[in-house]
Symmetry: C2
Subunit: 619 residues, 2 copies
């Protein structure tokens, strides 16, 4: 049923082109299962310890416990992480670590990976972990690129890879515009299933990269680029395995025989879903998600603005337009440096010097791109039938042209492979991975994100831009700022691209990030999400009233996970047995794992899994 | 700043007229402070026990504890509830009980009321309650009409009346479209403050009755009738006093010096706000709320449909229109019986028989109302500039006219006092209380609500309608169904109007409600909210997996409120010291208070505050 009075899509969606993306990342992004080694033939050296046994457990006891688990869930579903470590990069078991590690490769690795096939097997694993006091770290698909990937926070944890076998779309309801998915369902898979069923009245919302898990992205409170961009706000109903092994269903899911689990999120009594996002209080095994009605037409638009100084007045223009939903999706303003990088070419093609790439070089490189000699590129989309879009686009045009020199880009002038069309696809709910191209900026490229939240104001944008620029310059890092306006707030997303094989540049990236986090917090700006290794630091910035919120979080953790087995340290929340030096301790990354007697339960022996610690001191 | 290209309101809002509403309810609805006895001069009899001392505490100890509290927060801010009980109705202390009690008047009464002036004083009160093991029951303004009013769940609790002194609007931010309020701020007060500041670009969203607390309604997950109708989804940031006395700020509020507490709800780490809604885990002392941008025009519309059987096809029409936001606010379909009652006249004016009022009498009574000889009335509003509204209204018109005999009502034909204009005000975010008129249907009229959630489907609507009708008929109660379509779900709201002075009719209303809850649950429909005395029953319907969700709720309760002092029994959650007979016990209302040895802590003596229990057996 359509109320739009015209075709469901009147702007053609171009097929995705992936020519600029390294094969290993392409596979990683697209494919829920086996990721393929990229073919490079660097020498293989032995891993120093095989496997990395979790702290506090004897090696033999750990292996015996794994054997016990194999009996429960099948020999082939318990894999010890004892494969040789390829020098500089290891791809055979990407669910054991962070593909884009900012630390030494030996740091955040799993001891083993287990593959449950059902909620019941997840319960079995959780009970097993409690019995043996083994830290476990659940991942949906491990695609949390830039925020830690598949790596566990505590070295030697057993990774619970939910997505490999629990990857079913359990329901797509074309009348209620909802679906119910398991952790292994990617945005690509959900999109494809809807297309296969011919449900053209249903749209999904996808983040920049479509290869990740719908559940994983949502519980990390990720966002996308249609009007349904706030994934957390769009979910309805969770099934959660608690850290002690019980399973609950939230909202209407708790009512036997209900037919509203995916239609009404709240149910009766405390609305507990939120404490299972960005936390370590439970393992989400099913999630309901609402689907957007096809808006009856859509139309991308792009404007560019000449000067860095246009940022402040632009934000003042964007704020009321966005809050009023005249700008209907996340308002994105990207800097020319990132626009150049998004073409997928290495920096070395433009510049051979060290230090940040000079502005004149960037502008020369951008000459053939739509942003051209300008500094800022705005990507947006209008939704609805043509005359409804025209109303909104006219308001936007009148406002944007208040910036002297503003230019509207004509898509007809752009090549099919241009980044603009990737934004067009994503804003229309079509999964894509073009965004990854900018990791090619560095050899062996990887990235890590700084993402502070601020009001949508010129003054805040200017202050954050200046902060990031100054610290990037100080550390000799190219600055890729993109301002993303959610609704009443914006996230400045700064992606630092680095060479995974260059320890010095990795350290510079990490130091730069740590400085940005602290300086931003001092100005009142906090991260909405962060990388595993920065979680303690970021959590510590939310310190109002003598860290009252963290004390509350720890109280919940102790009540729900008395043995402290579930994802210790995730989002800065450490179970009791890992604490012990008070608040200050947990602010330091690796707090529970530094081999100095902190953390392990009294009876524990930490002779194997200790954190090497050297590569990420804080501050 | 306006993007609408036309006046901010192009349909005049008529001033509220309140001629049909009893003075006592008018005062109650409008005024945060002293409510006035309605002037009736029935004989006063002595209350049987003065005061009702909380279970488990000796009278002298309790009075000594109150004296201690008076020293802390001021003599005049601690009131013992020892006033004489007026026969049949008592109005001098409406914050001590449910104005619309469905039980015997002696049941759900407070022992005392305390009036904190600040978050710090709320902390003092909570610490005092822990010291003396006194159950406390926080209210914002106590206007939870139909769901328990100001009454505590446990007889003899000390009511913490937050709203009397904590009634400040702490911020209205005209750039971010947000505000920050204390518990005593009503929808009227917030609306008035915005008008006084001349912020015509800011709208509030108001529920049917505008006299209640913004915080109180939101934490009970109430709804309103603009596109911002889901109040819980529209809040941003809480300040909460925990049951052990600590105070936290959620979301960005935990970051010192932030300027985004009201702009970005989530912050970093677990999003804990939800567990403070419909619960007894904390006392909300401040809340941020987002404000809707003036849509640049609005236009009410009303359709009527002839037959009861039109319900099913109408729901099929409404569902996709609502999910697509062509119907932009809560879609409301009201039965003719309620339309007649909304005129504020007593049933006795139309019918003197007992049992449900016959359909022909109702239709005769409706002849002069817009619904006339029809059965269903739809009230809606379109938002935006005229040409945008016209697009949506045309789609709605084409769809609604698929129902044979559908009639669009011309507002120009209606008198200014017609209910239509109340719906018009509410849907434009203008607080109103016309809705209360239908309590006049019964002498000494009061009401209590049945509000199950279902999908938006003809089959579900028909089943729920038939269930309600059959049980109302069986108990001789007039049936007032209204279907309210949130977005992907609908609530059937059935208000039972009863005579507070007629014990037999109160019992019939309660029995009817209990039967409806159980039968609806057996069909898979659960309540989204319920009256205090029905909370155990409703909570018990959310029983999936051996009551796993309630066990989880109890685990949180025990962790956060180890002494069990905060609102014991609210939403069916009993603290440990009130439990003791397992799950089945808590399903029976008054579980902890029946004087049979259940509930009080081992050292407690329950010689005074026991529940009389007689008037609300379950089942």
């Amino acid at each position: 049923m359509s109320f739009a009075g015209e075709a469901s899509s009147d702007v053609p969606t171009l097929p995705g082109t992936h020519s600029g993306i390294p094969a290993y990342l392409l596979e990683k992004a697209r494919n829920a299962k086996g990721d393929v080694f990229d073919g490079r033939t660097k020498p293989i050296k032995d891993r120093q310890r095989l496997p990395v046994v979790p702290q506090g457990i004897e090696r033999d006891d750990f292996l015996a416990a794994l054997a016990e688990l194999k009996v429960q869930i099948g020999n082939e579903n318990v894999e010890i992480n004892d494969k040789p470590l390829k020098d500089g990069w290891y791809m055979e078991h990407p669910n054991t670590h962070d593909m884009m590690t900012i630390l030494d490769e030996e740091e955040l690795v799993a001891s083993a990976v287990v593959y449950p096939s059902s909620t019941e097997e997840v319960q079995d694993i959780v009970k097993w972990a409690n019995k043996h006091r083994v830290p476990i770290f659940p991942i949906s698909m491990g695609r949390n690129l830039g925020y830690g990937g598949a790596a566990p926070r505590v070295r030697g944890s057993v990774t619970v890879d939910l997505g490999k076998r629990m990857n079913k779309i359990l329901d797509i309801n074309p009348e209620d515009y909802t679906c119910l998915v398991e952790p292994g369902v990617s945005f690509y898979a959900l999109y494809d299933a809807i297309q296969e069923k011919g449900y053209h009245h249903l749209w999904i919302d996808t983040p920049d990269l479509g290869g990740g898990s719908v559940i994983g992205n949502t519980v990390d409170r990720g966002v996308g680029y249609t009007p349904y961009g706030d994934h957390w706000a769009c979910h309805s109903g969770l099934e959660v395995v608690l850290p002690t092994g019980e399973v609950i269903r939230t909202g209407m899911g708790a009512l036997p025989g209900n037919n509203t689990w995916q239609s009404f999120p709240y149910g009766f009594g405390p609305y507990s879903d939120g404490i299972f996002s960005q936390s370590n209080y439970g393992i989400v095994t099913k999630m309901g998600m609402t689907l957007m009605p096809n808006p009856g037409g859509y139309e991308s638009f792009m404007y560019t603005f000449p000067n860095e100084e246009d940022l402040a007045p632009l934000m003042e223009i964007i704020r009321p337009l966005r809050i009023s939903m005249i700008l209907e999706n996340v308002a994105q303003l990207r800097h020319v440096t990132q626009s150049v990088a998004a073409r997928g070419l290495p920096r070395s093609q433009f510049y051979s010097g060290t230090g940040p790439i000079p502005p004149d070089v960037i502008h020369a490189a951008a000459a053939s791109a739509p942003v051209g000699d300008h500094t800022w590129a705005y990507y947006g989309m209008a939704y609805g039938p043509a005359h409804i879009r025209a109303h909104k686009l006219a308001l936007v045009d009148a406002e944007f042209r208040k910036i002297a020199g503003a230019r509207k880009v004509d898509p007809a002038t752009l090549p099919a492979d241009e980044y603009y069309f990737s934004r067009d696809r994503v804003a229309a709910g079509v999964p894509d991975i073009h965004e990854l191209r900018w990791v090619n900026w560095a050899p062996n490229g990887a990235h890590i994100a700084f993402s502070p939240v601020s009001p949508i104001r010129g003054t805040d944008a200017t202050r954050l831009f200046a902060l990031g620029k100054r610290l990037h310059d100080a550390y000799g890092i190219d600055f890729f700022p993109a301002f993303c306006v959610g609704l009443r707030e914006m996230h400045l997303i700064v992606e630092i691209v680095f060479d995974r094989d260059d320890a010095e540049r990795k350290q510079a990236a990490l130091d730069c990030l740590r400085d940005m986090i602290d300086e931003a917090a001092a100005m009142g700006y906090g991260e909405y999400r962060t990388h595993l290794v920065l979680m303690d630091q970021v959590a510590a910035t939310y310190s109002w009233n003598d860290n009252a919120l963290m004390k509350f979080n720890e109280k919940l953790k102790d009540a729900l996970d008395p043995n402290g087995i579930l994802a210790p340290g995730r989002c800065g929340i450490w179970p009791k047995r890992y604490r012990g030096r008070g608040w200050e301790m947990t602010r330091e990354s690796g707090a529970a794992s530094e081999g100095d007697g902190v953390g392990p339960a009294p009876e524990a022996k930490c002779d194997q899994g200790e954190f090497s610690g050297a590569s990420h001191p804080y501050p």
